[in-house]
Amino acid sequence: MAATRFVEGLVAGGYAGHVTVLGDEPVPAYNRILLSAVLEGTHAPDALTLRSPGWYAEHGIDLRTGTRVLAVDREHGDVMLVDGTLVPFDRLVLATGSIPTLPPIRGVVRHDGSLHPRVHAFRSLADCDRLLAAVPTARRAVVVGGGLLGVQVARALSLRGVATEVVEGGEHVLHRQVSTPAGKILARSLTRLGTTVYTGARAVRLHEQGDSVGLQLDTGFVLDADLVVLTAGGRPSTALARGAGLEVRRGIVVDDHLASPTDPRIHALGDCAEHRGVTTGFVPPAWEQAQLLAARLCGADVVHEGSRSVARLRATDLDVAVLGDPVGEEGEVVEVSNPVAGKHSRLVVRDGVIVAAALVGDLSRVGLITQHYDRGTVLGVREPGDLLLPDPVDAPTVLPDEAEVCACAGVSAGEIRACGSLEELRETTRATTGCGGCEQTCRDLLGATPRLEGVR
């Protein structure tokens, strides 16, 4: 995804050089973060394609799918593909993303390095296809890893009619994103939706059980399953960079120009890159980096200052938004918690600015809070608290006589009350004869007039 964004940026910026895109998947880049939506069934798989092969051709870009890169030769300035082809470069951009972490569960990986047939990763469209193919015959599934992706996959499987359980090693689901009370509320919501969550538990061994498998936890439980999905996070894919002798820590180290300090001709962006000690796993920062690097290569003098991240859970009936790092960020915490209603909102505020937030179960103000977070709006003293509470509801009141009811004709409640009937009202004031929107109010006001013949 980051690579597509980068190439779009080069096209928009009128980049003069020749561009080659190498990707090891058999299809052009697609919107990876919507894979769980495909699994859930809300998105058609072909709706994920970001740019069709025709688009690349139209812009003179050499797109090579299904092409794995074996090594980068910095001395000769080329990369070697698995089939031995050499592709020369003046500049190289690594957007290799991340690779799923395989938790240390005995029996998950077979001797030949492949996954057990009942075990699935969930990173690529191919993974998604394979999992979807297994769903019709599956009754029970276990998702290992209760982060954003794990919860999304669990909900998707559940909506597909598979009884699904989640195993999470931390104290609660989304433990990197939300505080304990919010995590507990989420677990309760998941349970209500039919998904049990096992927290503080690690899967240690996969047993063959005839038709199905049994996943043994370190708590002693054995969970029967037809499917096991591993969503235990990922790590930056750095093998090529390491092989080329570039500086790599957790990710491929880049400076504020997104260039490797080892070799300024080589850049990295997205999940595989480490900028100012930070690696991220989200799209918005990857896209910001992509746009910035494209602009730089097209001649603009811009530097990368880091990104603000907003993570949203994409799962039906579970509402979660995470802005920044609401667990780790320093600041004053404003919280509203309503476990009974399944809602928990937390704002971390520093000098009047929302620096992080977690919203669980109540997204009524997510749009506004995100705007304030992204723009660094300085809020008033009461404002963070007021943001988490609904607008005051106007109590029904008796309209004062001077209140204007019919804006089209400029007629007040008192003038309406002075009329005996709608016909009289229309004739004497023209109320209701413009846009017609006040007719019900006028009827109510007329009806409220005590009428003598009604008195006995």
Partner: protein, 699 residues
């Protein structure tokens, strides 16, 4: 508060033959009304006219308030630049003076030294005659009009998508039969109240109404679904809808294959606009977006209507294109009771843009750089095609150039109060003041007329006859109901008088019906073809929809049923990207400022502010209690709204109906347009009236 109802009232429609059938002097709805009495004129309903069915808003009911008004100008006025004093002049003196000054300016600076600035409230006849006057009598390319600030983004988008720009490609009453009507940036319940009756019938008929607006307006109050995006993000919202339509398999593949081109690029581009990304950009929660897409996908007949809220942006034409993409993806344009339309704003916003008042166009919606168009129009005018100038500057660019070394040194203004209605108005006022000659034709001493060297008093609405083209493309007839006041002349007389004094090679007719017949010939064969329309037909048929190429042609109430007006007959999808507002909020200017209208006033207020029966409380700053509390102000307290271009002081109006990060100020009074941004849309040259960055503090 009550504003009384001193209006003369009569509940019954006058009988046939009694009174004069005409239309309201204000907005593009051009409500039918009957004027009774030649000396004391009253407004009566005209129940049979289908657009408003006898309904009027208070602006219409009180419209006669400007007839015989004490501020009415009835003599030409000439200002002494040294003393600033006005003195009255005879028409001959005034026209002689203007003509001689024009000659001087053109002798020194060439034909383009003189500019003409028109208005979207002028009749078709005046708009046509102004364009001809500029090109033939003045020989200048420098003509444009304030309609550029109205619906030009929709005009540009419609032309690119459908090959023709007619606000609504169907009669307004068609909306009643739609299953879903999506209003993007329209507050029609306040800006054209009788139109809201049609909207209510959508719901009575089981349909649903969607309103997209940063404010929960009076129109939103009568809708089923209301989305309140951040100002300037309607485009991203449309991309989000498209994304979900693709994702859910809800696009009409057959329609796309048979009637459109360009879909693939749009489909690919919207893959990157998933709901949560749209939420971050627009501030509209992802579930609300999903609900909207589900609604659109589940109904047979969807109608998308845009107005100024979507259009008055530096990405206004792309925003309209994105919403047209939505309509096309659903297979709606050309389908009965469905499709896309623009709700035009000014009274003759439609006709005003069709007959040569625009810098790049000739009558009949012909492009001025098309040799065939030039040949046709030149033949009708009796001049050589090569004598016609080329493309001039768009409205704002024209004003921005006034008095500069390369720009015009003199300007004639007809039907426009530029000082109030232009963006970055302080700068525009400076440009006007730098001119060697400013001539303004108006009814009253407007803020713009007050800067002029010569003010010419012209007829208004009920004192003259002429056609208008309403938001539906229906050509209607405003008929004279009152004698012309002594000392007042029509703009047609002004043009003819100046043309003759300037030695024009051709004469300019002053009889509106004669001008209209000529307009018909000039428009013949063009997109907006009026050739078959006559005053009599308009009277008999309650208006005639263009194109109407021949006397026996019935007119065209509905476009696109079989084909689009593009060379290959297919509609065009356009892959557009969200760029966002030209000026983003920041630490110094942290609030979005948006502008708009209120029910009781019209445009720059030159007319409505002078009508005693209309409440005039002045401008206000509408804001949410969250923002008001942050600023420490309560309802009614004064605040200062400042932008990089200027500031104004006005009372706060605190309400929960507006987004808490946005402040709204109506533009009918001198003020807020001094604050707004003059960034222009690259295609339509529309300024960004609807969003800029502001700071609000307690005053």
């Amino acid at each position: 508060m009550s504003h009384g109802t001193a209006l003369p009232l009569s509940p019954v429609s006058p009988g046939a033959g009694e009174g004069t059938r005409t239309h309201c002097p204000y907005c593009s709805l051009q409500c039918g009304m009957t004027l009774v009495g030649r000396r004391t004129t009253t407004v009566q309903p005209w129940a049979e006219f289908p657009v408003n069915e006898g309904a009027l808003c208070r602006k219409g009911w009180s419209a006669t308030g400007l007839l015989g008004h004490r501020e009415r100008l009835t003599t030409p006025l000439v200002r002494d630049r040294a003393t600033g004093e006005w003195s009255s002049a005879t028409w001959d003196e005034a026209l002689d003076l203007v003509a001689s000054r024009i000659r001087e300016v053109q002798a020194e600076h060439g034909p383009d030294g003189v500019a003409v600035f028109g208005g979207g409230g002028l009749t078709n006849e005046k708009a046509y005659q102004l364009g001809k006057f500029a090109r033939v009598a003045l020989g200048t390319s420098q003509i444009d009009y304030n309609g550029r600030w109205c619906m030009s983004s929709a005009a540009s988008a419609s032309t690119r998508a459908f090959g023709v720009d007619r606000g609504l490609p169907f009669p307004l009453a068609d909306v009643e039969h739609a299953d879903v009507v999506v209003l993007v940036g329209s507050n029609l319940a306040e800006t054209m109240p009788p139109a809201a009756r049609h909207l209510d019938r959508v719901r009575e008929n089981g349909g649903q109404v969607v309103v997209i607006d940063p404010r929960r307006t009076a129109t939103a109050d009568r809708a089923d679904v209301v989305l309140q995006p951040v100002p300037g993000t309607d485009l991203a919202l449309a991309l989000g809808v498209l994304h979900l339509l693709v994702a859910g398999g809800h696009v009409d593949d057959t329609y796309i294959a048979e009637r459109t081109t360009g879909w693939e690029a749009v489909r690919d581009a919207v893959a990157a606009w998933w709901p949560e990304r749209v939420e971050r950009v627009t501030g509209v929660a992802a579930p609300e977006l999903r609900a909207l897409a589900d609604l659109l996908a589940s109904r047979e007949r969807v109608m998308v209507l845009t107005a100024r809220g979507a259009e008055q942006h530096a990405q206004g034409s792309d925003t309209v294109l994105a919403w047209i993409d939505v309509a096309l993806a659903l297979g709606m344009p050309g389908k009965e009771y469905a499709g896309y339309g623009c709700l035009t704003g000014q009274g003759n916003g439609q006709g005003g843009r069709e007959h040569g008042q625009k810098a790049d166009q000739l009558p009949g919606y012909r492009m001025i750089d098309d040799p065939a168009a030039r040949a046709h129009v030149a033949a009708v005018w009796g001049v050589e095609p090569d004598s016609l100038p080329g493309k001039g500057r768009s409205a704002y660019e024209l004003l921005d150039a006034l008095g500069t070394p390369a720009g015009p040194r003199a300007m004639l203004v007809h039907g426009s109060n530029i000082v109030v209605s232009a963006p970055r108005a302080t700068h525009v006022q400076e440009r006007l003041e730098s001119l060697d000659l400013l001539v303004v034709c108006d009814l009253v001493m407007s803020e713009t007329a007050a800067l002029a060297d010569v003010v010419l008093p012209v007829t208004q609405w009920a004192e003259e006859t002429g056609t208008m083209t309403n938001l539906e493309g229906r050509v209607i007839l405003r008929q004279q109901a009152r004698p012309v006041p002594d000392g007042v002349r029509s703009d047609l007389d002004v043009v003819a008088g100046l043309a003759q004094r300037l030695g024009s090679p051709i004469e300019f007719a002053t009889d509106p019906e004669e001008v209209f017949a000529e307009l018909g010939r000039a428009s013949a064969g063009g997109k907006a073809d009026y050739a078959g329309i006559t005053y009599d037909r308009i009277r008999d048929e309650q208006g005639v929809f263009w194109p109407c190429p021949a006397p026996d042609h019935p007119g065209t109430p509905r476009l696109f049923a079989d084909t689009f007006a593009t060379p290959d007959g297919r509609a065009r999808f356009h892959a557009v990207e969200h760029r966002g507002p030209a000026e983003v909020v920041d630490g110094d200017y942290p609030v979005h400022l948006t502008t708009g209208r209120v029910l009781a006033q019209y445009q720059s207020g030159a007319q409505t502010r002078r009508i005693g029966d209309l409440p005039d409380d002045g401008a206000f700053a509408e804001m949410h209690p969250l923002l008001a509390n942050r600023l420490g102000v309560a309802d009614g307290m004064p605040v200062t709204v400042a932008t990089r271009r200027g500031e104004m002081r006005l009372p706060a109006r605190v309400t929960t109906t507006i987004r808490p990060d946005t402040v709204f100020v109506p533009f009918h009074w001198l003020g807020v347009n001094r604050l707004v941004n003059d960034a222009l849309d690259p295609a339509s040259r529309m300024p960004e009236f609807k969003v800029c960055a502001a700071r609000v503090v307690a005053a």
